[in-house]
Symmetry: C2
Subunit: 112 residues, 2 copies
DNA sequence: TTTAAATACATAAGAATCTTATGTATTTTT
DNA sequence: AAAAATACATAAGATTCTTATGTATTTAAA
């Protein structure tokens, strides 16, 4: 991530899982664009962070991969398998809890 | 942190700064207890994370240190200097923005 | 009263996750 | 024709944490 990198550290895998959950299947480059779009240009996911994270999620048995040929170029489409969907729900709960706890400790008002 | 460690990674220095801002002066052990209290026992700051973080903030020129003797034991009281107060405000803004952006990307409802 | 738990500091090895830099190659835009 | 965007990938290094260990005093429990 370029922007608040220290803070986003740790939430990347959750972001990837959630986007795959919402969109069915996505390829790496598409994910970087989506994150930028959703954050209105504020969050830029770097490739050096994304691809290793995708490979790790795959190695952890959470993702399915399908390579598609577009012209002479390959796209690796990722999607969630059953374990991936379960993990997504878990991670989203963890992030929600994390936000609540962080707001409690920092005495921050919830962001409306 | 014991609990959501990957997520809390990066927010520790902000937590320390904010607690010092609120409480004037605190010593390390006191900070761990305060975090536990504020999070209702959910967040446990480990000493292996805390002390290096305090030393770094001090090395960065954000903290004042005063050693006090309680019986035969030493306490290192930390407090914010001017630069520390400025940095605290900056970091708190960063965390607020981070939470908003994370909620946007993950399509989470704000936590009321 | 002696043992365990709490208080209070500290550091060091290792793990995890990211940044930065670099590389390759194709396609589209200028 | 050149530059930018698309699309993947990896590797060295930085940062920040975990886990383990160490020292020492004070308080609570057995």
């Amino acid at each position: 991530m370029k922007q608040n990198s220290q803070l986003f550290k740790g939430s990347l895998s959750t972001i990837i899982l959630k986007l795959l959950d919402e969109n069915g299947k996505m390829y790496g480059y598409e994910i970087t664009k989506k994150v930028k779009e959703l954050s209105k240009g504020n969050v830029e996911l770097t490739e050096g962070a994304l691809y290793p994270a995708l490979h790790k999620l795959e190695a952890d048995g959470l993702l399915e991969v399908k390579i598609e040929n577009i012209g002479n170029r390959n796209r690796k489409y990722y999607s969630l398998n059953k374990a991936g969907k379960k993990e997504t729900n878990l991670k989203l709960k963890e992030v929600s809890d994390f936000i609540i706890q962080l707001q409690q400790v920092l005495n921050l008002k919830p962001t409306y």
